[in-house]
């Protein structure tokens, strides 16, 4: 027993940990499990036979696996939906990053009347739920004949306050001397932004891109309302068809296929996050800290 305690204490010491860290670690792991378990269930269920899904004892790891669910998913035009989703998410993310950087730079580094008020209006807009604005927006798009088009999917998403906020925080701590040097070198404010400030804003750009891409990729309500044709649906709207409906046959059988569809849906967001993980974390943790 004494030897075990000794070994644990050496182990902790070597890693710069203390005994009080153990309950914190255990608590953290419990939280992690709570967050991860639905995801784990989703992934494993996507490989189960339909009759193995709703069992008395939860099968975290399936006894037998199949890829039939994925094949069934492809019976619907998921590739077309994925293309729609990709076009929508990539273009919207691109514009959100560019516009967010421009607006964030202006709000952080330029002096003009009403600067504080404009920023407050942007922040206040975060407090208005999407549901309030979708109906008038939908009517407007229908009126101009843009229902079920890429314009309708993309245009409302090309600016995002979150992106603006991330860039503003970054540019607040951007070295003034670099901008002064650019001015001395003959760069006007636009060139100083495009040639000096923006290329140096990689960390906030990645953070904003990951967040905005994920938001757009998973966006459900607006694409659901604005797309009337099967061919213009995005992936989340399309695969909602697989969702088990109470009182129908899909309640029993649909879970496995639905989970296969959602597993596929979540892959791009995960890939984007893991590829850019390092920049993402430094981007969102960068507030007052100057690099």
């Amino acid at each position: 027993m004494a030897a075990l305690v000794e070994r644990i204490s050496t182990y902790l010491h070597e890693r710069g940990l203390r005994v009080v860290d153990i309950p914190i670690w255990i608590g953290g792991m419990l939280f992690l499990l709570a967050w991860a378990s639905p995801f784990l269930w989703m992934v494993t269920t996507s490989f189960k036979y339909p009759e193995d899904v709703l069992t008395t004892h939860i099968e975290w790891i399936p006894r037998r696996v199949t890829i039939d669910n994925f094949i069934q998913v492809f019976e619907l035009p998921v590739l077309r939906w994925a293309l729609n989703s990709a076009v929508q998410a990539i273009i919207a993310t691109f514009f959100c990053v560019v516009f967010g950087a421009m607006a964030g730079f202006a709000l952080a580094r330029m002096r003009f009347p009403g600067r504080g008020a404009i920023f407050m209006v942007f922040l206040a807009s975060l407090m208005v739920p999407t549901e309030v604005s979708v109906v008038p927006m939908l009517l407007a798009f229908v009126k101009v004949g843009w229902a079920s088009t890429y314009q309708a999917l993309i245009l409302p998403m090309i600016a995002n306050v979150l992106s603006l906020y991330i860039f503003r925080q970054f540019f607040l701590s951007f070295p003034q001397e670099l901008l002064d040097a650019a001015r001395m070198d003959g760069a006007n404010i636009m060139r100083a932004f495009w040639l000096i400030a923006f290329p140096l804003a990689r960390a906030p750009a990645v953070a904003a891109a990951v967040i905005i891409f994920t938001l757009n990729w998973n966006n459900f309500l607006w694409p659901l309302l604005v797309t009337f044709d099967e061919s213009m649906k995005t992936l989340p709207v399309g695969i909602a068809q697989f969702a088990p409906n109470v009182g129908t046959h899909t309640q029993i059988e649909g879970y496995a296929v639905a989970m296969a569809a959602i597993t596929m849906l979540s892959i791009p967001s995960l890939v984007v996050f893991f590829l850019l993980q390092k920049h993402f974390i430094s981007g969102i943790s960068q507030g007052g800290i100057k690099q």
């Binding site: 070295p175 001397e177 670099l178 002064d180 040097a181 650019a182 001015r183 001395m184 070198d185 003959g186 760069a187 060139r191 040639l195 000096i196 290329p199 140096l200």
Partner: protein, 370 residues
Amino acid sequence: MSMVELRNVRKSFGPVDVIHGVDLDVEEGEFVVFVGPSGCGKSTLLRLISGLEVLTDGELSIDGRSMRGISPSARQVAMVFQSYALYPHMTVADNMSFALRMEGVPRRQRRAQVEEIARTLRLEDLLDRKPRELSGGQRQRVAIGRCIVRKPKVFLFDEPLSNLDAELRVQMRVELTNLHRDLGVTSIYVTHDQIEAMTMADRIVVLRDGVIEQVGTPTELYERPGNRFVAGFIGSPKMNFLSGELRELTAAGIGVAIDGQLGDPLRFDCPTDGMQVGDQVSIGIRPEHFVEPDESGARLRTTVGSVEKLGDEAYLYAPDNPAGPLIVRKQGRAAASRAYDDIELGLDAGLCHVFDRNGVAVANGGTTNR
């Protein structure tokens, strides 16, 4: 004609006045150093000349042309920043040619100009590196090269050596002085380090609270400071200020004695308007200006509090001296004093300065008794 002319230049940030009416002429080819404690407005003055800040009032002209409404890049001035302000994502060559790129100079011509200047600054092997791959001194040279490429009429330096270590600072000081000699471009240099000011400047401008206290060559400021502030700011360690009294008043001048002084008063030839016997004055003596005491001459007796030995010389500190704390520099064998020694210091009026109650210099150097 002066290269840079400032006439009654004022600058306020909101309700705060930072520069209170500065008049100054900088001649062509001159190396002028703005020096003063932090917050004195020296960097603001430099930024006004560069155009990065706009004058609240007054006139500024460069090479005879008014700078009203002229953008920083059109002023034919170039600036070296304290942090060098090199663009971190660009190579050395791109950094140096950025201004030319903004002017629309073709790529090949840019490269040729940059290479030529890189040779003179020993940067030719570093042109494809990023600033983070350079040492402090190399970055400094790139920052200077970036300025030279623009062929400016005036160089502005904003504390360019303050980020370097002591050894490199000395080296870069020499390099900058040589560069100025070779290029002959008018330079204005801001520093809070009076050693940099003394060693590099043709003329020094001493600033305090947004006002010019004195302008002069390093020797002028050292030998004939106009007031107590300048006297205390120029020279290291700083001048000793000892309280004293006006004892004699003649048509030709005054005689003053430091509190506790032995021997005759120190006599100075100077105007005596408004002075009266018994006036309180302050006598300034540099640590290196005490002389060997002689029996009948003016002298001070004091007790050494502590000693800093620097090899051949030593600084004696006498904080409890009745007329005011003292620092004395001793050289050679005289540097052997120890703490608690009682010492006698000789005073030579020719090396002393007298300041009236308002701190204005009444006399710089009197009748020498050597």
